[in-house]
C-alpha cells in the first residue's frame, strides 16, 4: 500500500467511524427525501417536468455534496492544528505530499457517499423517462470533477490558516460566490453571462448537466463547458502536490 493510501484510509476511518460523516450524510438524505416527496406529490407534473425534477435532484446533490466535501476538506489541516492532533500525524513516516493527497482522497469519500445517497432518489424520479442512469453517470463524472477542484481549494484554505473557522468561512464563501450566479435565469443568454458561466466551475458544470438532462443534447455537444471544472481540478491538485510540504506544517504561514 502506498503512503498516501495509508493516510487516506486512516482519515476515512476517522471521518466515517469516529467522525461526523454519517451525520452529514443523514442530513443530506433528509433534504433529498423532502425534495423527492414534494416532486412526487405534484399531480400536475408532466413528462418534461419529470426530467426537470431529475435535473434538480442532480443539481442539489452536486451542490450540497460539494459543499459537504469542502466542509470536510477545509477542516483537514486547520482542524488538526486547532485540536492539537497534527503533531502526531507529522511524526509518522509519510511525506507531507502523501498527507495532503491522502487527506484530499478522504474528503472525496464524502462526495462519493453523497453520490451513493442520491442514486435511489434519481431512480424514483427518473423512472419512465430513461433519465436515472444518465443522471447518475453525469453526477459521477461532472460532480467528481467539481468536488476534486473545490475540495482541493478548501484544503488550500485549510493549509493557509491556523483557525478552522477561517478556513471553513473561506471555503463556504467561495462556494456562495460560485453558486450565486447560477441562480440568475438570464445569465447564460448574454455574452458576458456566457463568459461568466464558462469560467465558473459550478455554473458551467450545472449548465452542462441541464443541457443533457433537460435539453436532451448529446454528451459531446457542450463539452467545452467542462473546461473550467477540468482546469480547476487539475490546477488545484498540482498546486496541492507542489505546495504540500509548505502546507503541512504545525503552524500556517510562509516561514
Amino acid at each position: 500500500m502506498t503512503r498516501w493510501t495509508v493516510v487516506a484510509e486512516q482519515e476515512s476511518r476517522d471521518l466515517w467511524i469516529g467522525g461526523r460523516g454519517p451525520v452529514l450524510v443523514f442530513g443530506f438524505s433528509v433534504l433529498l427525501s423532502a425534495m423527492t416527496y414534494l416532486a412526487a406529490t405534484n399531480q400536475a407534473m408532466n413528462f418534461l417536468e419529470q426530467r426537470e425534477a431529475v435535473n434538480l435532484t442532480v443539481q442539489v446533490g452536486l451542490a450540497v455534496g460539494v459543499l459537504l466535501t469542502v466542509v470536510v476538506s477545509a477542516d483537514a489541516i486547520s482542524g488538526e492544528r486547532e485540536r492539537g492532533t497534527f503533531e502526531a500525524l507529522l511524526l509518522t513516516p509519510v511525506s507531507r505530499r502523501a498527507i495532503v493527497v491522502g487527506k484530499l482522497a478522504a474528503a472525496m469519500t464524502m462526495w462519493l457517499a453523497c453520490l451513493a445517497v442520491t442514486l435511489p432518489y434519481l431512480w424514483v424520479l427518473g423512472r419512465g423517462v430513461a433519465g436515472a442512469g444518465q443522471a447518475a453517470l453525469l453526477a459521477l463524472t461532472v460532480g467528481t470533477l467539481v468536488a476534486v477542484g473545490l475540495g482541493g481549494i478548501g484544503m488550500l484554505f485549510s493549509g493557509w490558516t491556523n483557525s478552522n473557522k477561517t478556513s471553513l468561512a473561506g471555503g463556504l464563501l467561495l462556494l456562495l460566490v460560485l453558486f450565486a450566479p447560477t441562480q440568475l435565469p438570464a445569465l447564460p443568454r448574454t455574452g458576458f453571462g456566457q463568459v461568466l458561466t464558462r469560467i465558473n466551475p459550478i455554473g458551467s458544470a450545472l449548465h452542462y448537466v441541464s443541457q443533457i438532462l433537460v435539453g436532451r443534447r448529446g454528451w459531446t455537444n457542450d463539452l467545452s463547458y467542462l473546461a473550467a471544472p477540468v482546469v480547476v481540478a487539475l490546477v488545484v491538485v498540482a498546486v496541492l502536490i507542489a505546495a504540500g510540504p509548505r502546507l503541512v506544517r504545525l503552524t500556517a504561514g510562509l516561514r
Binding site: 438524505s29 433529498l32 423527492t36 408532466n46 445517497v117
Partner: protein, 151 residues
C-alpha cells in the same frame, strides 16, 4: 408591391402543404415525426404549430426545438418535423408557410391523441423518501452508541 413580385404572384400557382398522415396516437413522452411536403412555393419559412383541442396551455418550446425551417423556391420541398408529446390530451399539429410576400398558407392538421402515463407517484416515492434517511440515521446512531459503549 413591385412589378416583378406582382407578376410572380399572378403567374405562380399558390403554394400548398400536404402532410403524410392525418391522425396519430402516442404515449406521453413519445417522440413523433411527421412529414410535410410544400409544393409550388417561392422562398419561404415553414413553421410548426401545436394546438390543444382541450384548452390546455401548450408551450411549443417543450414540444420541439426546431419550430421553423427554410423552404427554398421549387416545385416540391419535403420537411420532416420531430417533436415530443409532453402533455396528455388531444392536439392538432399543423404547418404554416410564411412566404416572402403574400398571405400565409396553412396545411391540414394532424390530430394527435396523447395518452397519459403515470410514472411518478407518491406511493412510489414515499418508501425511498423514508427508507434512505431511516437507514442512514440508524447507522449513524448505532455508530455513536457503539463508540459511547467502548469509551
Amino acid at each position: 408591391m413591385n412589378l416583378l413580385s406582382l407578376i410572380a404572384t399572378v403567374v405562380m400557382a399558390s403554394p400548398t402543404i400536404t402532410m403524410n398522415q392525418d391522425q396519430l396516437t402516442a404515449q406521453l413522452g413519445q417522440t413523433l415525426t411527421v412529414e410535410s411536403v410544400v409544393s409550388e412555393s417561392g422562398p419561404a419559412i415553414a413553421h410548426l404549430n401545436v394546438v390543444s383541442l382541450d384548452g390546455v396551455y401548450v408551450d411549443l418550446e417543450d414540444w420541439t426545438q426546431d419550430v421553423t425551417q427554410p423552404v427554398p423556391a421549387g416545385r416540391e420541398t419535403q420537411l420532416d418535423w420531430e417533436f415530443q408529446a409532453v402533455n396528455p390530451g388531444h392536439f392538432a399539429v399543423y404547418v404554416v408557410l410564411i412566404p416572402r410576400s403574400g398571405a400565409l398558407v396553412a396545411g391540414p392538421p394532424v390530430h394527435i391523441t396523447v395518452s397519459p402515463r403515470q410514472t411518478l407517484d407518491t406511493g412510489g416515492a414515499l418508501p425511498v423518501a423514508i427508507a434512505v434517511p431511516a437507514l442512514l440515521g440508524a447507522a449513524a446512531l448505532i455508530g455513536r452508541l457503539r463508540r459511547a459503549a467502548r469509551a
